[in-house]
Amino acid sequence: MADSLLFQMLHMEMAHALCGEQEKGLGALEGVGFRVGQGLSERLTKETPSFKDELDVLKFLCKDLWITVFKKQVDNLRTNHQGTYMLQDNNFLLLSQLSNGKQYLEEAPKFLAFTCGLVKGALSNLGFDSTVTAEVPGMPSSKFQVVIQKS
């Protein structure tokens, strides 16, 4: 879709501009993602009734939020039922043009920072504090680990 392309292009340029020069590096990009996550989860949950539990919120992230931003659902959600969740996207939109193997692997983190912020922001808007980290087993798949802080 043409207008989803604008988002991708903007993300691309942010990853280049925000992480390029200053050493603040990924923090700025994560900050932008955080604010977008807050805003999106606000809009996406206007009509939905409140969530049953933590897992229900994570399912919302993997479906509604992921489709809006990445045009597909998360491929695999696993949890240890103690507040740690693993989201796996086997064809992550923001990596799919880069490579489908090892090339550019070392550059991957700056293309995941925004999304870590996005997930963190969405959760915080729904009342959950979390830490989100990401890793790339091999392009273009990516894994996001979400650890919910017990309040």
Partner: protein, 145 residues
């Protein structure tokens, strides 16, 4: 029917990509010189056809052929030049060259933040997608060659 080779040039004459599939004769000069010679030819060809044309042109130079091969040419308004050499049996493949531009170059170079638009393309994904696309063309088969 055969596809011999393919060149991609940016608007300043940098050879962004070159690959070959069935090539029996090299140019007898280094690859760098060959790219410069090819680009120089295309650059002069553009002004040659522009002056020779009896009426105003739209697409301009499309192709030329010799006794043994046909060179197909496609240029975008942004100055990207796609050049494909095939055997003489291949007709108008302008839409194929446009597909290379829109489905492969735009998708895996323009939308790849780690790909500069004015240096030779390093992305392996781009090379794999291009190679796959060319091998899948109906006129690619080398059996005849």
């Amino acid at each position: 029917m055969t596809v011999h080779n393919l060149y991609l040039f940016d608007r300043n004459g940098v050879c962004l990509h070159y690959s070959e599939w069935h090539r029996k004769k090299q140019a007898g000069i280094s690859k760098e010189e060959e790219f410069k010679l090819m680009y120089g030819m295309l650059f002069s060809m553009r002004s040659f056809v522009g002056k020779m044309s009896p009426v105003d042109m739209k697409d301009g130079f499309l192709a030329f052929q010799t006794s043994k091969y046909k060179l197909h040419y496609y240029e975008t308004p942004s100055g990207l030049k796609v050049v494909m050499n095939t055997d003489l049996g291949v007709g108008n493949i302008r839409d194929v060259l446009h597909q290379i531009y829109s489905n492969i170059y735009v998708e895996f170079v323009v939308k790849n933040p780690l790909c500069s638009m004015s240096e030779p393309i390093q992305s392996e994904l781009f090379r794999a997608k291009l190679d796959g696309f060319i091998r899948g063309l109906p006129f690619f088969s080398a059996r005849a060659g």
